[in-house]
Symmetry: C2
Subunit: 286 residues, 2 copies
């Protein structure tokens, strides 16, 4: 029987999630909900939260209380543990599973970082992002008073250092200097070199391509100069959505195994992300 999956939020991610659910051989799309819809009637094995990051917790708690699994791509790195605690209690209490921070970073990059650490425990990993549009930073920029539309580009400067190029359309009468100060003070931007550029038409610049170059040089046992590199160039919402959908499968399986709680992707067995029979997957992949 197919897993019954619903989604909340129908923006870039929600639309891509819809496509990934349709493409999944073991899933049935049972509902698309908007931010303001009542969640009372939702019946699903798992619900994918395609809302802005800051609304994830509220929706997840409502669903977990009904015993429904949730998946989000919450992306504020320093608040992930707090979210895991909060959703973990709800999930355990109501016998459900929540997979959190399930995108590509945090998410699949986190899995690569964990794996490389196990392979070479001593050393340094650098995660270099972009060039590409950061969805989280773009949403954060749009939320700032005086900004009508925004596009935040992440530019890799090497060794994990990034520049934020934030292209903005201002609201009528907004003061660019005041808006710029607010932007630079926001927690999303305060830690990186950030440039705000006022433009007439943000949409003309828009492109959801993104990339990662993740590098580790480390030591296995007592042997130095072990070198690892993970690269990708991807359509950002499509990848985020696909990872969320794959994690919904893991959430439902963890619930079936009575392993209730909230998990980040490094706490999941990769095989649980994949459709089909375990033995066949092992035969093909291992």
């Amino acid at each position: 029987m197919a897993y019954r999956i619903a989604l909340i939020g129908y923006g870039n991610i929600g639309r891509a999630v819809e496509q990934a659910i349709i493409a999944a051989p073991d899933m049935e799309l049972v509902g698309i909900y908007h931010h303001n819809d009542s969640l009372e009637a939702i019946q699903a094995d798992a619900v994918l939260l395609c809302t802005p990051t800051r609304e994830v917790e509220k929706f997840a708690l409502q669903l977990l209380e009904k015993g429904i699994c949730t998946v989000d791509s919450f992306d504020i790195h320093n608040q992930i543990l707090a979210l895991r605690d909060s959703l973990g209690i709800a999930a355990q209490t109501h016998k459900a599973v929540s997979v959190i921070a399930a995108g590509w970073d945090p998410g699949s990059d986190s899995v690569v970082r964990a794996l490389l650490l196990a392979m070479a425990p001593q050393g340094i990993t650098y995660t270099n992002f972009g060039p590409g549009r950061s969805m989280g930073h773009t949403v954060a920029a749009k939320a700032i008073d005086g900004i009508k539309n925004a596009l935040s580009m992440t530019i890799p400067l090497g060794t994990g250092v990034h520049r934020r190029m934030v292209y903005v359309e201002l609201e009528e009468g907004a003061d660019a200097a005041v808006v710029g100060q607010k932007l630079l003070a926001d927690d999303y931007f305060a830690h990186d070199e950030t440039h705000m550029i006022v433009v007439d038409d943000v949409e003309a610049l828009n492109n959801v391509a993104h990339g990662v170059n993740l590098v580790r040089s480390g030591v296995s046992g007592s042997t130095h100069n072990q070198r690892f590199e993970f690269n990708m160039t991807i359509n950002n919402p499509a990848l985020t959505a696909q990872i969320m959908v794959s994690c919904a499968r893991a959430a439902i399986r963890m619930k079936q195994a009575e392993r209730y709680g909230a998990y980040t992707m490094i706490e999941l067995a990769p095989i649980d992300l994949l459709p089909g029979n375990k033995e066949n997957l092992i035969k093909t992949l291992v």
Copy 2:
């Protein structure tokens, strides 16, 4: 309290495993056993099997029967499921955990392949190996009648196609043509382009460097052209050993969680490979 780890087999891998155990902050090396030692007296939380691949099952079964976890780097891809079945029954019966095929391929590459499949379910993955010495193939070549010493180099030809360059010293009086036929008929070599080259001194060529270039182009949801690449250049036994040691940690934790059985690496949560507190790991890696 530190995990008590022993190892069997003191060749390239055994020596590197010793180093990796010493370097691990949460492990204590409690014994080094040779192939012919009795295993009766072994007391350990986990034993790492650093023997030739074809001896793994015999040793693992003896240890699992005593409730001791085992880790091996069994590397005959098409026999992994059978080993998992055999060790799985023993592990479940005696409340232990065995992690099998825990090297870099099969092993960490398998994890990368599983992750990429979850990220882009439709598409093709190519695993390109080398140039580098294949330990499994070198051992297999050495086991052939008439071969005194051997070195099997793996040469990547792209799109997952490889050449095997097998440098051999022959036994006195051995016929190169006969030895070559036996080599080419061996299951390790029968499926690839293989060249046997007779040399005077194999050791003069020896170098345990190796590499991988793992490439996937695939589809996330309905979005094509998602591109991924994983590269590494490494000291082969040092990496294999380190991965085995990291997997010993996971085996012991799975046993503590009463999740008895035999597992490949794609069935393990990456966080269980790592020492230290879960919350700190999530904070650092996710």
